[in-house]
């Protein structure tokens, strides 16, 4: 089954159209990357799927169900998003426990204490972090909390918006390993936005190269590894990475 199906998707912010006619089908269990430079519309696609950019036309289907334009609880159960900056995406005045319990409260799920304990174990955080505040944690630990929050509702699909670009290389390695393990253990589907091609090579199966709101090329990660991307713009990106 396709986890995410986008058909002829146009997304606008006010009068400005930022994504033009995107068609994309991502299979369940697949790890797919959107790459491209800032302003190419890659994050906007994630936001539209998550319901944060409601001004779109075309169709977005998640696990076979067409998505409505507003925030939709049924979709939230299945699709969760992890944001780029772990310093900005956690509520500074809520403890980790409160942050992780909130989605459970919204969706009326019980047994919260045990679920929080379990998810902290999954993301490799010690239980002593449970009642701390975000400012008492390092960047890598915060990103683990952000991933844990996304996993609370046991979603099938994770939308990852540059999950490691605010982190040091060694911490990035830890988070990438964690994401890879979680995907294997829970059979998650990833849709990852990044401009770091080596990260795509490590974590993903396929990628789409975007430019100015359009997809210019969809390729297999094997093609990326071999440096055999066909579009000139993709080659440019590849050259910038390899130097």
């Amino acid at each position: 089954m396709t986890a995410i199906d986008l058909k002829n998707l146009d997304i606008s912010y006010g009068d400005t159209k930022v994504v033009h006619g995107v068609d994309l089908a991502i299979a369940e269990g697949e790890s797919f990357a959107l790459v491209g430079e800032s302003g190419s519309g890659k994050s906007t696609i994630l936001r539209a799927i998550a319901g944060l950019a409601p001004d779109w036309t075309g169709s977005i289907s998640v696990l076979g169900q067409k998505r409505s334009h507003h925030v939709d609880r049924a979709v939230s159960r299945q699709v969760q998003m992890v944001f780029q900056d772990p310093y900005g995406s956690l509520h500074p005045r809520k403890t980790i426990d409160a942050t992780l319990s909130e989605p459970l409260a919204i969706h009326g799920i019980g047994n919260r204490g045990e679920r929080v304990e379990a998810v902290l174990r999954q993301v490799g955080l010690d239980q002593r972090f449970r009642f701390r505040f975000p400012h008492q944690l390092s960047g890598g630990q915060r990103q683990r909390v952000a991933i844990a929050r996304a996993l609370m509702l046991e979603p099938k699909v994770l939308l990852l918006d540059e999950p490691t670009s605010a982190l040091d290389v060694s911490v990035q390695a830890e988070i990438l390993n964690l994401l890879k393990r979680l995907r294997r253990e829970q059979n998650l589907t990833f849709l990852l936005v990044t401009h770091n091609l080596p990260v795509v090579s490590f974590l993903c199966d396929r990628l789409a190269v975007m430019r100015q709101g359009r997809i210019v090329e969809v390729a297999d990660v094997a093609q990326l590894k071999a440096g055999r991307l066909s579009e000139p713009y993709s080659q440019e990106l590849l050259a910038a990475t390899a130097g």
Binding site: E37, G139, V169, S170, V171, A173, P198, K225, A240
Partner: protein, 278 residues
């Protein structure tokens, strides 16, 4: 060319905390000629503090001490604030990380670049204008006349960074310190900006200190590399020999980076406890 441009010996930077003074740079020594030096390290390794202490930009209660901190024969630690102002910008300048926060939002690009120039030199208005346009051209901005009239919010990140570089290079300094000059930029723009810095540095025979957390990038644009961890230099090597680095920390950093033709199933992770004591 006999005496080095910059001599640093036993540089220490410390800040007070509730539990006594904490040293963030612990006895750093290096010399720099007219060459390109890279300082690499992770957050908190003290690399930015090193750059700032060379310009005497560390404010109280921070404290800088050194056996030697000499730039072209001038003892930096002995200079008054007034004397430092003649050095900063004119002879040593610094490119900061994020153009969004480092440009003045209420001045046009042209005015800001002019300010950097006329602070240090007396020049006629027409000549200043010409120098600005030449400099914008040198950092590969296509229509300098238009860009000089724009405000910082009207330009992109990559262009903002090029404007900063123009501003820093227009007084023709002898040493340029670039502190993470590209970490706020896209990969495709990063290379362009570094190529511009590299080109200007080589052409004018300036010294360059490139501070970054990106090993690959530093090894591409520098002659020599210092690897810092927890306030100390753990390894010094020629840029070309980075692959043969010996220290476990450097090796750990190199291994933790995914590569474009990645085949590893899991990335090796630094064992932080190993360096916790240092």
């Amino acid at each position: 060319m006999t005496s080095p441009l910059l001599e640093v010996e036993n540089l220490r930077v410390s800040f007070p905390t509730h539990s006594g003074r904490v040293e963030v740079v612990k006895g750093l020594s290096f010399t720099l000629g007219r060459e390109r030096l890279g300082i690499v390290g992770e957050s908190g390794s003290g690399k930015s503090m090193t750059g700032r202490s060379i310009l005497k930009l560390i404010r109280k209660p921070g404290e800088v001490t050194a056996d030697t901190l000499r730039f072209d024969g001038i003892d930096i630690l002995d200079q008054s604030e007034k004397q430092m102002r003649a050095v900063r910008g004119a002879r040593i300048s610094m490119v900061m990380q994020d153009p969004k926060f480092s440009l003045n939002p209420v001045m046009t690009v042209g005015e800001q670049i002019a300010e950097a120039l006329v602070t240090h030199q007396k020049l006629g208005r027409r000549e200043v204008q010409q120098r600005i346009l030449d400099m914008l051209h040198a950092v590969r901005i296509n229509d300098p006349e238009r860009v000089a009239k724009l405000y910082p919010h009207e330009v992109s990140g990559g262009m903002g960074q090029r404007i900063m570089i123009a501003m820093m290079l227009i007084p023709e300094p002898e040493l340029l310190i670039a502190d993470e000059p590209t970490s706020a930029l896209d990969v495709s723009v990063q290379a362009q900006v570094l190529d511009i810095i590299d080109d200007l540095v080589t052409r004018k025979g300036m010294g360059l200190i490139l501070i970054s957390h990106d090993l690959a990038l530093v090894s591409r644009y520098c002659d020599r590399i210092l690897v810092m961890n927890a306030g100390r230099v753990v390894e010094e090597c020629a840029a070309g020999q980075l692959e043969q680095a010996q220290h476990p920390y450097t090796r750990g950093l190199l291994a933790a980076m995914p590569v474009i033709d990645e085949t590893r199933d899991e990335l090796p992770v630094l064992d932080r406890t190993q360096w916790a004591g240092t």
